[in-house]
């Protein structure tokens, strides 16, 4: 029997067969193997396959060979009007939604941190939207926006205001999606900001107060610089997520009306599965991946996150 540091006796391994010895020697690899295999099957192989597919025209007929088109699918991006619409909508959505989420999330965090720090229940309630499945959020908002029987129009009607089509109106559809997204993801920014605020040192604020710095001055010169890494991470994660928006659009508008809410993820889905053109869908996906990587790298450098 061997003993641990605390004195507990543990049985020693008995010498076994060759297989057991081999397993013993390579245990670390064996323990890692399932994860590596899953990673290979679910991430590495599909990624490589996507690169391969992006340079081919793939017929839905399995008896026809894949036709190598080189950069053809990428060149097609330049002239595809639907892709341009989806790209524009994605950019608009990302900028507007993430900006609102950031401002509201930071504002709420400052408010709760400074004035109502002890209201744990309120903090928990504010985080509920983030915990809900995106599909449930989308369906909830679909019911809220429903033009004839929806809650929102019922309120408008009772207030004597003109009823709106919300998700069905060309001028309101994108706004409606942004509101739903802001509702769901502001708590995420709020949570990160709250954590950031809780970790701020007290001394600089005491010194600033002694020097007679106003609250605004303290916020601008102390809080914001201290929060910079947290803000950068929060914005980065939200931008990357906003670029992949799918659920809300799929459920609320299907990309309409008049293509006003068609975003890149929805278009990729349509091209791959509705139009059975996986080669072109792979090319668009690679474009989105490229944009995300470039944006993230630029952002990290700009915010000096690498340091």
């Amino acid at each position: 029997m061997a003993r641990t540091a605390s004195g507990t006796q543990i049985p020693e391994l008995q010498p076994g067969g060759r297989l057991e010895h081999w397993a013993e020697r390579h245990l670390r690899y064996l323990m890692l193997a399932p994860t590596m295999l899953i990673l290979l099957a679910l991430t590495i192989f599909p990624s490589l396959y996507m690169f391969y597919a992006a340079v081919h025209r793939i017929s839905p007929n399995p008896d026809l060979p894949w036709e190598f088109v080189g950069p053809g699918n990428f060149v097609r991006l330049l002239t595809d009007a639907q892709f341009h619409v989806a790209l524009r909508n994605t950019v608009v959505f990302t900028i507007v939604a993430v900006t609102f989420e950031f401002l509201l999330g930071l504002g709420l965090a400052l408010l709760l941190d400074r004035f109502i720090r002890r209201l744990t229940f309120l903090k928990t309630v504010l985080m509920i939207p983030m915990m809900l499945p995106p599909i449930a959020v989308a369906i909830t908002w679909k019911i809220i926006y429903e033009p004839q029987f929806g809650v929102l129009n019922e309120i408008m009607f009772r207030l004597g205001l003109p009823l709106q089509a919300w998700a069905g109106d060309v001028n309101l559809a994108m706004f409606s999606i942004i509101v739903a997204d802001v509702w769901q993801w502001t708590p995420f920014i709020f949570l990160l900001m709250l954590a950031g605020l809780a970790s701020l040192p007290v001394e600089p604020y005491e010194a600033a107060a002694l020097d007679g710095a106003s609250s605004w001055r303290q916020f601008w010169d102390l809080t914001l610089p201290f929060l910079k890494p947290v803000i950068a991470i929060a914005l980065l994660l939200r931008v990357m997520d906003a670029l992949r928006l799918f659920d809300l659009v799929f459920i609320l508008t299907g990309g309409g009306p008049a293509d006003r809410t068609k975003v890149l993820s929805l278009y990729i889905y349509q091209v791959a599965y509705r139009f059975a053109d996986p080669g072109y869908a792979a090319a668009i996906s690679l474009f989105v991946l490229f944009v995300t990587i470039v944006l993230s790298t630029w952002f990290m450098k700009r915010m000096r996150l690498a340091e």
Binding site: E20, A23, S59, P60, N61, P62, D63, Q82, E146, P147, Q148, F149, L163, Q164, A165, W166, A167, G168, D169, V170, A173, L252, T253, G254, G255, G256, P257, A258, D259, R260, Q270, Y273, R274, F275, A276
Partner: protein, 419 residues
């Protein structure tokens, strides 16, 4: 010891996983809707009667197409039968995903499906349409009908709408008097399949067509197309606000709640409208064929059909099930479960027609026989998407009707390569 136990468990789990994929004698892919529910119930009956294990995989409408296309493209053989919406047939058939049923009929000593099936129901199951070999069998006899509240129409001075002008006349009055809470007409204006499905019957009733007879030319941007678009947009003006996002549920709810007087709709909604727990309009909705424009009205056919996947490893079992499920007895049971039939004998069966909930059967049978299929093209999903975008823009008013027709013409020409 723990390691050995772990290895044994892993081996057992692998064996279970491998055998689990082969537990069923055949697998059927169906939509998560009344059509799929009906076939699921039939499959349960078949399993009990024959001792055959049938696995039913249900998926939302769009996912049935996607999963079927994926299974076909990869020759996975994961599905033996697919319950298809009929516009998908050219895609599946022309990409080699569907089995030609001719040899199976021969082996069964049959020349083909019997004459009790409605001719239009059989025509869509042949590829090319009405001339090629059978690649599926019809199961659910969907075709659009015109649904309207006869009492409201009468109030508006129209006894029974025969033309789109009648519909417009009544709808304009009803919407005007409705004060923003009641509307004369409602339709599926959602981008893509919904708006296209509700536009096509109007398009046809003005003599327009997407392609010429031999499918060598796109013919959307024509005077007939313009006349259809004019009526369609006039109907939009008497429909609820937000119609641009309406799909089947919104239209069905508006009719069942009694907030709209009329619409083009599918027969599987009849059960909802006649169910007191779901409808305020029980016994109040009348059914008629699609109104005429400058030509006789024509319904869009939307049958659900069963085909055998080419990569299936259980083709004979699949064929036997399909023949059984589409027999007169089973189609009658399917009708009682709420799915419209595809056989004349069931449409005229006295047991059914004497029941109030089947009072629409004569109209539906007439509608199927006067129906038109959506343009039969393997790229129909892409065509429908492009056409749906332009129609959605026209409905939303972001482009003129003329631009919508011109853009649609150009988009469909580009997709099909026809000039």
């Amino acid at each position: 010891m723990v390691r050995k136990l772990f290895l044994v468990l892993a081996a057992a789990a692998s064996a279970l996983a491998i055998s689990g994929t082969a537990w069923a004698d055949f697998t059927v892919l169906v939509p998560s809707s009344s059509e799929g529910d009906g076939l699921r119930a039939a499959a349960d009956d078949y399993s009990k009667m024959k001792g055959t294990k049938v696995e039913i995989v249900q998926a939302p409408y769009a996912n049935v197409f996607e999963q079927g296309a994926n299974a076909g493209a990869t020759k996975s053989g994961v599905f033996d039968i697919i319950l298809m919406d009929d516009p998908w047939i050219p895609f599946f058939a022309e990409n080699g995903h569907l089995e030609d049923l001719t040899p199976y009929f021969k082996q069964a000593g049959m020349e083909g499906p019997d004459n009790d099936f409605l001719s239009k129901s059989l025509a869509i199951c042949r590829n090319p349409y009405n001339t090629g070999p059978y690649v599926c069998l019809p199961y659910v006899g969907n075709a659009q009908m015109f649904f309207y509240d006869a009492a409201k129409y009468k109030e508006a001075g129209v006894d029974a709408p025969k033309t789109w002008d009648d519909v417009l006349k009544a709808s304009q009055t009803l919407t005007k008097d409705g004060g923003g809470r009641y509307f004369g007409y409602v339709f599926r204006g959602g981008q893509g399949n919904p708006v296209v499905a509700d536009f096509m019957p109007i398009f046809w009733s003005y003599g327009a067509n997407m392609f010429n007879e031999d499918r060598t030319k796109v013919t959307i941007d024509t005077p007939e197309g313009a006349a259809a678009m004019k009526t369609f947009l006039a109907l939009r003006d008497v429909s609820p606000k937000g119609i641009e996002s309406y799909n089947a549920n919104e239209v069905g709810t508006a009719l069942a709640a009694g907030t709209a007087a009329s619409s083009i709709n599918w027969p599987n909604w009849v059960a909802t409208f006649e169910d007191p727990s779901q409808s305020k309009m029980v016994g109040k909705i009348s059914y008629s064929p699609i109104p005429a424009g400058t030509k006789p009205g024509s319904s869009e056919i939307g049958h659900w059909t069963m085909g055998i996947m080419s990569a299936s490893k259980n083709k004979q079992e699949a064929f036997d099930f399909m023949v059984w499920a589409t027999s007169p007895e089973q189609i009658k049971i399917s009708a009682e479960r709420g799915n419209p039939p595809v056989r004349a004998s069931v449409f005229t069966d006295a047991d059914l027609t004497k029941q109030e909930k089947f009072r629409h059967y004569p109209v539906l049978m007439e509608a199927i026989q006067a129906s038109t299929p959506r343009p039969r093209h393997p790229k129909w999903p892409e065509i429908e998407n492009a056409f749906g975008i332009e129609l959605s823009k026209a409905v939303a008013g972001t482009i003129t009707p003329e631009e919508a027709l011109k853009n649609s013409q150009a988009a469909v020409e580009q997709i099909t390569g026809l000039k």
